[in-house]
Symmetry: D2
Subunit: 307 residues, 4 copies
């Protein structure tokens, strides 16, 4: 066996994030996986011929991960984003000046209902944000070109009209990083489009984006997957390769979901090798962790490494 | 406190599923939740003025749940279905005559890749199924009306053209039960639409369904939620009520996801009370279980009860 | 590949527990594992030359599993029991006539404290039970022989003095099934021994049981492991084989714990093959499920099968 | 509501562990819990009148956490340790000069068996270590006083005889920090005691420690609980207060176990308020995380804070 000795991790008052992360490489369990994730991601970002696909699921923006995600785009770490509708919605809500707040997950939901405060575990948002969002979005919808488009272009048009440099959507538009959101209908953006199209025209096609995502996968020399959570973004990023002659060359996933019940979110990354989504020689690591814990330390370590 | 005595569950060789399920009501932990789920669902199905919304996520069709889901529709248990694209895809694949097989989750994915067999935990499918699916779907796509439609109508048109009475999609079309699939682009159906629209016309609008799902929620007297898994189906069913003056009157969820990391899939149902998605007096139960274990026993118990 | 076709599970109003369980064998995910667990356990119980080791962790007695566990011993299904101290304590508490009750896991713990009610998730117990337990145990302790003994013999002496035919401890004493409890000091029995030995003599040796458990493993022709939960009982049952020339010939585990963080409770059973605890050809299955859901259905299926 | 605004976490190349940890306090989900855990632990360690009880479960020493745990004792952070037998065993094995190694959790257990290598997820140990351990322990057992003692004293006697300043057991003996191990019989130490007592005398009493742990709880002005994992150490530390007029004044737990199935390991800390184990006004936080990820960053943050 070509095993490495476990080195007992040694923490001093001067230990930096990356020093700890590198020590974890000679540890076991989650520590080892976290360290491997950083190493794989570092290599993918540094290689100019590798396209990095970022999948974003879970309520990351409400929990304080917005700036980190925005910076990953701004700093050129990622080339393609696939997101749930929720994170985009919450990005816009923050761009409008609304704030998420943090309290206790034990809050009384009946009382919150009376106060019109929406709860996401221990994070809260005034329901008024959704009313304001309707007005805000309708104004933007009225401004964007009246032509049939895909969701990617639709989000690009919205992003250009958001006046907040900390916005994920705006930053992606500025940097020309495509954001795909195959489940956009399942979001407040979708429901507010409903009230809009009652009286106005808006034409966003379900399948239009396929051409673009397929073109990206067919034309990528190498590609790396960085999945936060699972869900539709994970599936979409991986599946794009199933129907392409290429395959992803490395992959990292951070999730709390588990594999035994067969859901894709918790599926082992090696499973996607059987499908031709991930390469047979691909490096990959799954970190079983809360993203809000793992992501900040991974990003800090990579910045220390000069990224 | 108005507590009931725990009664020690007593199993004999004649214990039927429902006898066990009813005993579980006086037990604790998961047993109690399973029993409550059956009771809530029974009441919802029996009440003619309650619309039952079924959410289907996770690879349920591959794992052997297709007939159960199909029967729930055929027997009039559910009024609205919201599904992932994957379950619909696998339903069609079985309708075409392909079979899923079961083996070991320890299978070598590199070997599977060489044999062109796709793995979903311990369930397998020849990749050829996806090639055949393309041909099958293109034929159907060519046959359906050339007009702008929503995903619901698109799936209805496909369902009518599936020649398999055990098909979920076909049964729903026959029974006029709408199937919504907000994330359809993220499925083999979506990717095969891509190859189709390279040369042909197909116009499925992202936001078109909003009118229908909103009309259903606005017009429902009572409504009950039965969520298998989580993901987009859970979000869509609940969110439809956020933007409606109504609210769901009861809810059941079976999931293995957990709440602490803030993802919607594992979120407590009571959280949706704060949002106005679930009523303040709604009965609700979350069963922390593998759906393939919990669902067959719940369905068997309800059938014993005469449903 | 030697794969079996998935058969879509079909439930009718006459489906018995075992009919469903047998159908699950041709399903995937948790359903398949549950079915395999029943099959492995059935074979182990039926083989007269196989010793069945039952590991009991988690608050199973409080949640309503006491009669099931007691019957497994009374019906000769198990030959050796390894338990946490808690299940034994709660068995005695029920034997004394105290009742566990069931309510909501959302109960206010501060209010419960004022009412002197102890909470175990959604199961409750008056704290007075522990006061009565002290009196009850001190009386028994005074009656048992004054000699150095191991925990196994200590529990046997207590069991003989419990006047309740539904008691696990009493039934095991009657059937001469040894109950090991290596962590007994960590239980109310241990803490009440403390108040006893302040004024009285009691001599229970930590290592005395080793001789007995080792003799059992050395002399077993075949042995099968049925682990409910994990913890000390899992470790003890498996480890007894590490230091024996024999090995367990089959194994079933029902647990909600997961393997990635390296704890033994969630460790895959195959891991114990590397240690020489489980045989290289052993059949084994881990069911990822709440024991209170899975166990009653497994037991019902086995009883239908004539056990 | 007295909610704080979520502040989007901002990572630069100069962000130190503690700067990130402090930012997490204004985030949500796991990040917030991690930050709270550090704050609670910091306060407990700094308060000279607070006794800190450390519970250690899970294979932490094999995974690289030995030095961190040892330093917590050496630096005076903890006053009482309750451990599983496994961590103590692996501490001794490292003291003997054996090394754990790290590889892949996908390793073939049958092959490992042939090579006599034991697997703990992705960590490995030559089985020879256990043979050497027997010789090593028997020598120590022969040297320690021949009198009836509790496990705490037994471990103290062993610790004094270990020649390794990085040993947890030795450091605890040097610093006079008691190590309790109520489940010691369930460990290689226990099984090697068996082979010893076949020919020699050794008398370790199960209940003897009760006097000491109860004396500590009765005499503590304040006490704080720091639970790594769960299992017997968690139960023992909390239960010691159930039978004492005092109660723990703060508590932190890091675990991946979940509460719904009623096991103590995953139980919410607030549950122990109902039992009188934790004070009604106690601060407490549960971090749902792999200990090998969370612990190094917590320790690093506290060292930055001057501890």
């Amino acid at each position: 066996m070509n095993h490495k000795h476990i080195k007992q991790i040694d923490i001093t008052k001067k230990s930096s994030v990356d020093e700890i992360m590198r020590q974890m490489e000679a540890g076991g369990f989650g520590a080892k996986k976290l360290s491997e994730a950083a190493t794989i991601l570092e290599a993918a970002i540094k290689d100019k011929e590798t396209k990095v696909f970022l999948g974003v699921a879970g309520a990351l923006v409400p929990a304080g991960m917005r700036k980190i995600l925005r910076d990953m785009i701004a700093d050129g770490w990622v080339d393609v984003v696939v997101s749930t509708g929720a994170n985009i919605t919450h990005d816009i809500i923050e761009a409008m000046g609304h704030h998420h707040t943090v309290g206790s997950e034990k809050a009384d939901d009946l009382e919150l209902r009376d106060k019109k405060i929406d709860r996401i575990y221990d994070v809260f948002l005034e329901n008024k944000a959704y009313e304001d969002l309707e007005t805000y979005l309708h104004k933007i919808y009225a401004d964007i070109p009246k032509k049939k488009m895909g969701v990617r272009e639709f989000l690009f048009e919205i992003g250009k009209r958001i006046d907040d440099e900390n916005s994920i959507l705006r930053t992606a538009a500025d940097k020309n990083v495509p954001i795909f959101c195959p489940g956009i209908a399942d979001s407040a953006m979708g429901f507010h489009a409903w009230s809009y199209i009652l009286d106005n025209e808006l034409s966003v096609d379900v399948f239009e984006d396929m051409k673009e995502i397929m073109a990206i996968t067919w034309n990528s020399k190498n590609s790396s997957v960085f999945i936060l959570g699972g869900g539709v973004p994970k599936d979409y990023i991986l599946q794009a390769m199933q129907f392409s002659p290429k395959e992803h060359s490395s992959a990292v996933q951070i999730t709390m979901d588990r594999p035994e019940h067969g859901g894709l979110s918790g599926a082992e990354l090696r499973e996607s090798i059987s499908w031709g989504k991930l390469g047979k020689n691909a490096t990959h690591a799954t970190v079983t962790a809360d993203i809000t814990i793992a992501l900040p330390f991974i990003v800090a370590a990579l910045k220390e490494r000069g990224l």
